[in-house]
Each structure stands twice: as C-alpha cells, then as structure tokens.
Homo-oligomer: 125 residues x 2
Amino acid sequence: MNNIQRTEAFISAWERCDIDAIIRAVANDIFYHNIPMAPIIGAEALRAFAMPLLTGAEHVEWEMHHIAESNHGAVLTERTDRFRLANGKSVTIRVMGTFEFDGNGKLKQWRDYFDFAEFESQMAS
Amino acid sequence: MNNIQRTEAFISAWERCDIDAIIRAVANDIFYHNIPMAPIIGAEALRAFAMPLLTGAEHVEWEMHHIAESNHGAVLTERTDRFRLANGKSVTIRVMGTFEFDGNGKLKQWRDYFDFAEFESQMAS
C-alpha cells in the first residue's frame, strides 16, 4: 500500500465511522492539527476527539477533489468534508490537508486547513 | 516547464512583488478563490487585488513546506505566507492551496484555504 492508498483508506475509515480502524492506522504519538484549533497529540486524544463526532453523525462523506504525493512522501488533499448529524443538522467544510506517515506506514502527522468560522457557524446554527 | 515549476515560478513572482510577471502567468479568465472570501475572477481583478498588497509590502516570503502534483496535473501546496508591511506590521498566514493550469500553461484555477480570523486579526492589530 502506498501513501496515497493509506490516506484513502484512512478517510474511508472516517466515512464508515470506524473508530477502531482510525486508531489502528495512526502512530501512538500522532500529531493531528486542525490548524485553527489546538493540536491533538496521541492516538487516545484522537479517539476522544473523534468519538463524539462519529457517534453523533448519521452519514459522513469526505469528497476528494485532488490528492497528490510529494517527492518526500507527504500526501496533500483537497476535500469537501460532509457530516450529517443525527439531529438533522449538516456540516460541510471546505478543507485541504496534509498526511505524513512513519516507516511502519502509520499516520504520524496530519494537518487540516479550513476557515474556523465556516465550521463554527454551521455547528451553532 | 512542468506544473510544479510553473507554481514555483508564480510564487517567486509574488515574492519579488512583480505584478507584471504575476499577470503574465495567469489565464485572462483566472478563477482565484481565497476560500473564506469572495472569488476573484479575471486577470484584471487579480491585479486590482494584488496591487495594494504588493505595494504595501516591504518583504514577501511564501515558505513552501510541501508541493505535489496529482495524476491530473493539479499542484497542491502547503505553505506559510509572510508579508512584512511598510508600516512595520507582519502578517503570517498558514495556508494550503491548489493550482490548476490550462493547455497553454497559464494558471486558470487557484484556491487557497486558510483561517480568515488568523488573517483578519493580524491585519487589524
């Protein structure tokens, strides 16, 4: 499996709301940074962050517009991430993100760039 | 010149504050979207947007962290864009952007993703 396939499989785990597959795919010391927010460090912190999102979601779809791997193995993505929540709300985030893997193929660095106000206004509405 | 080199040359023109080189590199109908803001459509609208930024800047440096080209020719970048303004202010924006070119090698689509509040708070400070 190459790094683009690893990234696609990781996103697929999010779309299936499969928290165990998400955690299996990451390094224990993963550094996950939603750039406008505080970084999340470590697999257990990622689990604690992801659980309420995934258990509150009826449908998750991260549409991939472009995906590319750099000469250094970093995978860059341009996406539209959609969450339909159990309470009927929908949240749509336009986002780009970088995924970097360690020598064992585990995700060690993940940075997502988006406009925080776009996210927050939908969560509040 | 391939699309990664075109993107690097375009960013280099921004760093030199060379508005003519910027405009030469883009299609007449360029669609330039800073995602949290209204899209800018057309080379002349891009010139009108860029001029005050570049004439007000003492030093422009867009640090490239990662750059990669997709199988479909789109170039994805992860950057830190720094502007030091003539009035002494500095503006630093953490950003990812996608660059797409037409058959003549002109930039036709450019989308930059960043947190608008991060930009706005520095402009205001």
